[in-house]
Symmetry: C2
Subunit: 148 residues, 2 copies
DNA sequence: CTTTTTAGTTAAGAAGGCTTAACTTTATAC
DNA sequence: GTATAAAGTTAAGCCTTCTTAACTAAAAAG
């Protein structure tokens, strides 16, 4: 990498501003629903990745299994996730979002992305089309990075 | 807005994947440098917005001025920011990054955006040009949202 | 079949972040 | 010029998160 060229510059600027925007409504919703950030993050992971074990949570968030267990326990008591025994390995637990947890997260996502609708209103039809195309290209490329 | 159309969909997907990517190296760097997330976020704000008063910090992060004062104090003692009296209003303090704080954040930013360079490698010259243009348009529009 | 590993839980305690409340100092309003 | 408001600090205490350590139960290894 020699210097921040035009592409890098453009991506950085957008990532910055979009991340900031998204985080705003995000932590708002977390607070409003009485959840702490870690709790909310765990629910978020459940939403995108589906059922998992406790160990996966502790790995992903780089906390001890004790900490993960405590978080999960709180969320279970709040009725937001379900914890059942894994039939194939009775030491392990299967953890998944409850219906209540799911709808909660979906509301949070709506909150997180409301600004995108406002953004759309500030653009012409043509601009929306062209930027959407560009983002699809970028998203594709980013996904490939994840797999490598 | 009636339903998530193509534009919204594309923006969401990209925001998701880019935010995730950026956050990864991000909290890593924060931990590695012995700073908590709130502390790191404050430094980040200083970096992008320059000098500010204490009240701006408490507003931006939605914490009391007491909490902001404590954070700032820690950062001053760590040599990462400087706190001086505002000559125009002697009640107020001017808070700005120190050289040490600046280089620290810049290292963090490098960490945060390393993946963008990898992303660039996966695209053709033409794609880079066109996506960069689109992102400039989006960034502009998002900035306008902030001002309204 | 015994030993060791793995998954998870529980309890106790340390560390950090945030709040309220009381206070100082300076600016603004009347 | 006095009263009020604003910027910031300090101290005390609450709450959350996280960790370590001791534990149970089940699977895997030998």
């Amino acid at each position: 990498m020699t210097k921040p060229d035009q592409f890098t510059q453009a991506v950085r600027a957008w990532v910055d501003i979009s991340a900031q925007r998204s985080m705003r409504g995000w932590s708002h919703h977390a607070k409003a629903s009485g959840l702490s950030m870690p709790q909310f993050s765990i629910l978020m992971q459940m939403y995108y990745r589906g059922t998992c074990g406790l160990s996966e949570i502790s790995e992903r968030f780089e906390i001890t299994s004790a900490a993960a267990s405590q978080h999960v326990d709180n969320l279970v008591q709040a009725g937001l996730i379900e914890r059942t025994e894994d039939p194939h390995d009775r030491r392990a637990k299967n953890i998944r979002l409850s219906a209540k947890g799911k709808s909660m997260i979906e509301k949070g996502i709506g909150e997180r992305y409301r600004w995108i609708d406002q953004l759309a209103e500030g653009l012409s039809e043509k601009e929306r089309e062209r930027t959407a195309e560009a983002l699809v290209v970028l998203t594709e490329a980013a996904r490939k990075l994840d797999q490598s």
